[in-house]
């Protein structure tokens, strides 16, 4: 049994056995095992037991990947998440830049406004968007009343509505993520660029943006994964025809009661997100190196 020898202050060696070293890991390890590893394992196993089948089989996976309906659902999930990732990052960047650089007293207010909506929860805000975007909601009614349009614009119950809703919900996370990255850029770099003749826009284009690309990648990754697993917003703002993996899983569990197929969908979602996360983090690492930090 190997042991680690530490010397206490008085010079006496203190031996801590390897086992005792790992004891503090036990409680969290146990929790992870019980509430994460085992259920994940069960879900994996479930996906290989189609309804009515005796032995383990890949039948449900086959079903998933040969049915264009489920594949469209997968594609829609990826598209939706990608769009949200872009929208969140593009909108969060100026806000994060302001928070990182400005010394105006409005900073605290902007920060609160950016983060506070999280307190209201997802469902409340999503229904709020429904009221604003639906065919006889706030925007359409206003435009109809003004005579700008004669038919309501389809702003809800489609990809547009879902992307708007999800962007709103995920934006605070994007802001926080980009804020960290922006704060890592030495303000003297911007000042140097300025004094060398760069306008504010040039400074952002030549200095700030390139140096925050890793932050941009990680913000997009964050927004992507949060979107891909979102349920409430696509369900409420997407309408009946808008099926993404999360809503499809819900249906399989509760309506069709085909838990095996639901597990297949959940696993596909998980693997898809892992692939994206993997690609994203490799990209981020490579960019970091390229920027010679």
């Amino acid at each position: 049994m190997s042991s680690l020898a530490l010397h206490a202050e008085k010079g006496r060696p203190v031996r801590t056995s390897l086992i005792r070293q790992y004891i503090p890991l036990l409680p969290p390890g146990l929790i992870l095992l019980l509430f994460f590893a085992i259920p994940m394992g069960m879900m994996m196993g479930l996906s290989f037991q189609p309804k009515g089948a005796e032995a383990a089989s890949l039948a449900n996976y086959g079903r998933f990947f040969t049915d264009d309906f489920t594949l469209i659902g997968l594609g829609r999930t990826v598209l939706m998440s990608g769009l949200v990732a872009i929208c969140v990052t593009v909108m969060a960047y100026p806000v994060a830049y302001f928070l990182a650089r400005s010394r105006s007293p409005w900073r605290a207010v902007v920060f609160a406004l950016a983060i506070a909506p999280e307190l209201a929860g997802v469902v409340l805000r999503t229904y709020g968007w429904l009221i604003i975007l639906e065919d006889h909601g706030f925007i359409n009614n206003a435009l109809l009343w003004l005579g700008v349009i004669s038919e309501p614009l389809p702003l809800a119950k489609n990809m547009f509505g879902v992307v708007v809703g999800l962007t709103h919900v995920i934006l605070p996370f994007g802001v926080l993520s980009l804020l960290t990255s922006l704060q890592g850029v030495d303000p003297n770099l911007e000042k140097s660029a300025q004094i060398l003749g760069a306008s504010r826009l040039s400074v952002i284009r030549h200095i700030v943006l390139p140096l925050t690309v890793p932050g941009i990648v990680s913000s997009m990754l964050l927004a992507f994964t949060m979107s891909a697993s979102a349920y409430a917003t696509p369900a409420i703002l997407g309408g009946a025809g808008f099926k993404v993996l999360a809503t499809m899983v819900y249906e399989q569990v509760l309506f069709y009661v085909d838990w095996s197929f639901a597990a297949v969908m959940a696993n596909v979602l998980l693997v898809m997100m892992l692939i994206v996360a993997f690609i994203g983090s490799r990209l981020e690492m490579r960019l970091h190196k390229k920027l010679h930090f």
């Binding site: 003297n188 000042k191 300025q194 004094i195 060398l196 003749g197 200095i207 930090f293």
Partner: protein, 361 residues
């Protein structure tokens, strides 16, 4: 005739109700190497930031070549700036860094390449074009920052303690290089530092700042030999400073008593009014050790002292001596001469009356 490059007229800056810079006036002729020297918090960096345009003054004017800079953003002021931490763009090569200002000016690539080459040559970094900042040593980074600042040919260069991150030997070498570049290119340098040795070594003139105002402006030798306040006397070089009470004056010689000690000295420096004399300043090298029995003929301040401690400065010894009046006076004695001196030994010091500076504050 040299034209005036920079004029600061009653320049002030407050943060809230705290004054950081209070109504400073300064004129800098073109081509001068002027240092702004002072302890931390005296307002020197803020003054630099105002000249660069990063901070707007609360009141007062900044004129560069006669043009009022009020409202002109940093990118439109044709000044260069070298930061303490160099602030090199880490994602660009040395060549791209140095060429950045020219790029912003819209010059074509061929011109940029030529200018970059020249600038790198000035700082002895030929051949470093394709390196990245993180591959450079501290000194190389410093020189790259300098090259970047001078490449767009500004008429004025601001430097914010650029050498403080370097070790001593490198610092001393860089001082010479900086001075060479400045003289070669004829650019006006405004150099902010807290290191008085550095300022003394490089500057044509030094502006000493203390607590948001200018304490004194002058050439290094002026400041050294005729400080106008105990602050300047103490900040520049070393000094023995005592509070004094003037007893009487006759024929240009002031009799002063080191307050509360009864030790009387004769001082021959000009001072306007007898009643204003409150302090005196004596450089350690002016307190000379008399060896042997030879005494000069003129009446000089002769003090018998006992050595308290000796600080070895290499070529010189700083000898702390105590007079019977309990006054401690530091004397600078060449190490060769004072090789056998030890604490407890009694010696005699003499101070030339002209070397005792009389100050009112």
């Amino acid at each position: 005739m040299t034209s005036t490059d920079i004029e600061l007229v009653k320049l002030s800056k407050n943060y809230g109700s705290t004054p950081i810079v209070r109504a400073i006036d300064l004129t800098v002729p073109q081509g001068e190497f002027v240092s702004i020297l002072g302890p931390s918090g005296c307002g020197k960096t803020t003054t630099l930031n105002m000249i660069a345009g990063f901070t707007a003054p609360t009141s007062g004017q900044i004129r560069v070549r006669g043009v009022d800079q009020n409202g002109v953003p940093p990118e439109k002021r044709r000044v260069g700036l070298v930061f303490q931490n160099y602030a090199l763009f880490p994602h660009m090569t040395v060549k791209q860094n140095v060429g950045f200002g020219l790029r912003m000016q819209g010059k074509n690539q061929a011109d940029i390449d030529a200018q970059v080459k020249k600038a790198l040559h000035s700082v002895h970094l030929d051949g470093f074009e394709d390196r990245y900042p993180k591959e450079l040593s501290g000194g190389q980074q410093q020189r790259t920052a300098l090259a970047r600042a001078i490449a767009p040919r500004p008429s004025l260069l601001l430097l914010d303690e650029p050498l403080s991150n370097l070790d001593l030997k490198l610092r001393e070498a860089m001082r010479i290089e900086l001075k060479d570049v400045q003289r070669e290119l004829g650019i006006t340098f405004v150099y902010v530092t807290h290191d008085q040795e550095e300022a003394m070594a490089m500057s044509d003139r030094i502006v000493v700042m203390q607590e948001s105002v200018i304490a004194q402006v002058g050439t290094p030798s002026e400041l050294y030999s005729t400080p106008r306040s105990t602050f300047v006397a103490d900040f520049i070089g070393k000094s023995n400073i005592f509070a004094v009470t003037p007893t009487r004056a006759e024929a240009g010689i002031h009799h002063i008593e080191i307050s509360g000690t009864g030790l009387e000295l004769l001082a021959a420096s000009p001072e306007p009014d007898q009643t204003e004399i409150a302090y005196c300043s004596i450089r350690p090298e002016a307190a000379r050790w008399i060896e042997g029995r030879s005494r000069p003929d003129r009446p000089l301040n002769i003090l018998p002292v006992e050595i308290n401690k000796i600080v070895n400065l290499g070529a010189y010894l700083e000898v702390w001596c105590r007079h019977q009046s309990d006054t401690v006076i530091k004397s600078l004695i060449s190490a060769a001469r004072g090789a056998h001196l030890k604490p407890g030994v009694n010696i005699e010091l003499t101070i030339e009356p002209a070397a005792i500076k009389l100050l009112s504050k």
